[in-house]
Symmetry: C2
Subunit: 360 residues, 2 copies
């Protein structure tokens, strides 16, 4: 959008005295009744999203040491859209053979898929652009060590910081985000999907200041704006509830489930390896035998009444081996976690014992 036109449009919108013959808005008096409960939530809105929600996000980031103002926050359709916007913008910096984008050995599959669609190759190696989850990584549930934090910030690389699970560290020690230490090449991504619910599709992006206008324009091109009803309901929820008390409760809930799953793993799959997660929704489980097809094991597990996420989905190169899988403790109650691991163990026994000729 022409910057002059944008300025004039915003001027008009702020002044009810200006008669709006531009904009193409539908007649608000014909909106469903629901609209009366959440003013403005059903009409077209600006691409950056609702003001109070952006102020909340910025205040939470400032409390963690980052100098971020509400005007720098763009509300997105979840963390996924924030990653998609950042990736499309930083794509031009991914140069060289293969157009690598740096990622952890295992990383978030839908980010990897978006990178690939944009013509980039996720690589577990240093690169001019890095995507990572420094506070709590998916799938391992661990944060990055302080030395790596420092090295990343000082390397001059462009970084997409996916902070989706940062507030769900079991010890409650919400680390300072990378965006607190670097602004000019740091794309900060967050979401309410893990801490409230995914169905509202409300996340956020804090681009580097020099990229704010382009990122906002891209957000507009992708879907004009994030849904107003989810944003308005979220604003009301934040008004009426104690967010920190909620986080304390969620951390205890997920820590308890993680504990129950680890106990069950030690009992039923003692030869498999995993590191204790420090937060988040999942752990990374490695088989005692590196061979075996993770997707074939999934088919066998489903026949035994349990599902998991095959390890290859999380790998930069989509390697099916060494055999590993992501187990989530987030969505099932403790007794089903225990039973799920028992079923997984039975599936593994059947899978490991089957004749090699049946392998796909």
């Amino acid at each position: 959008v022409d910057a002059r036109v944008d300025r004039l449009q915003r001027l008009c919108a702020a002044n009810r005295g200006v008669i709006a013959l531009g904009g193409g808005l539908p007649a608000a008096e014909e909106f469903p009744v629901l609209g009366q409960a959440v003013p403005g939530a059903l009409q077209y809105d600006w691409p950056e999203g609702r003001e109070r929600l952006r102020a909340f996000v910025a205040a939470r980031l400032r409390a963690r040491g980052a100098r971020v103002e509400a005007g720098e926050v763009i509300i997105t359709a979840g963390a996924q859209q924030a990653i998609a916007i950042a990736a499309e913008r930083v794509r031009r910096w991914c140069t060289g053979v293969g157009r690598c984008i740096g990622v952890d050995e295992e990383s978030y599959p839908a980010a990897l898929d978006r990178f690939r669609s944009l013509g980039l190759s996720p690589c577990a190696a240093p690169a001019p652009v890095h995507y990572l989850m420094p506070a709590i990584a998916n799938p391992r549930g661990a944060g990055i060590p302080p030395a790596r934090r420092r090295a990343l910030v000082e390397s001059g690389a462009t970084v997409i910081e996916d902070d989706a699970y940062a507030e769900l560290r079991f010890d409650g020690a919400t680390a300072s985000p990378l965006v607190a230490g670097a602004r000019d090449r740091l794309w900060h991504v967050g979401t309410f999907s893990k801490t409230l619910c995914p169905g509202l599709r409300v996340g956020w992006l804090v681009p580097p200041p020099s990229e704010h206008a382009s990122a906002l324009e891209l957000k507009r091109e992708l879907d004009l704006m994030s849904n107003g009803i989810g944003q308005a309901l979220l604003e009301r929820f934040l008004d009426e509830h104690d967010w920190d008390a909620r986080l304390v409760r969620l951390r205890a809930l997920y820590a308890g489930r993680a504990g129950r799953m680890m106990e069950a793993l030690r009992r039923h799959l003692p030869a498999w390896r995993f590191a204790e997660p420090a937060g988040g929704f999942s752990l990374w489980l490695e088989a005692p035998d590196p061979d075996g097809d993770d997707v074939a094991l999934l088919a066998c597990a489903v026949a035994h009444g349990v599902s998991f996420d095959p390890g290859r989905l999380f790998r930069a190169g989509e390697a099916p081996r060494p055999l590993a899988l992501r187990l989530c403790f987030s969505a099932e109650p403790p007794e089903r976690l225990e039973e799920g691991v028992r079923r997984l163990s039975a599936a593994w026994d059947a899978f490991a014992r089957r004749p090699a000729t049946l392998a796909p």
Copy 2:
């Protein structure tokens, strides 16, 4: 996503007996109370969207002569996201110097902007890929003639059919969509933004059958899924209201406003030209004098208490002349439409009379 994994995941989701240690879903019992009123709407869902909503869209299209099943519909974040998905997928067919994508002389600005960001040049000329609004075009409010419909369908071109205003033809003669005559190169786009409200961000895309899987994967990469709360509220609204009766009321409302605006234009700006819109939210107004900067005129109009959309935003080449503008009759009550046109006339008098040296 690996097709085998996707199949297994869907199998598991349909069977509550399978313990889900995959998926990374948050604990649904911690969702806000709201969630109890709209089952499933707050959790992660499939990228294609909710089943009943897709069935509604498919049934409406079938009633207009298109053979579309619910399984072929992808729910999107408004028509804008549907256009963005289609554009990213058809981009590879836009070959040749300048990578043209065919559009009308004037077209929808946010679509043009997305095409440009993808490295394409919108051109008002024949091209291997066309974007258009055949039923009611934005900004002119007219449909395309039958001969052009036939020619387009028979040309073998890939077509993005944006049907956003199709149900808001004033005469209620909802034309058969292009998707009824061609499926294999036709990307059909629709939305509830004009007929219900934009804030839910619910639209849809019907890709060619051969492109369905890729389009769905791209939807997933862009935001995982459309917001569940908006979809669920919309499903409930459709259950509880007579959609056709609503459309009859909306057509009368917008036709009445269009009439009022045209009367005012004939009275206050008799030298300007426009064609009577057949539907939609706007008309296209051309100045008696082709010279003059449309954005400068907007600034002058805002100072006189009225806004409009500068004509250049709608043009493939962003040409500022001949001087024209989009006027919307959709969002203001009739007496403000009349007053708005009066103010626009006063602004035009001031603008046309001002010393040439002040022109930007």
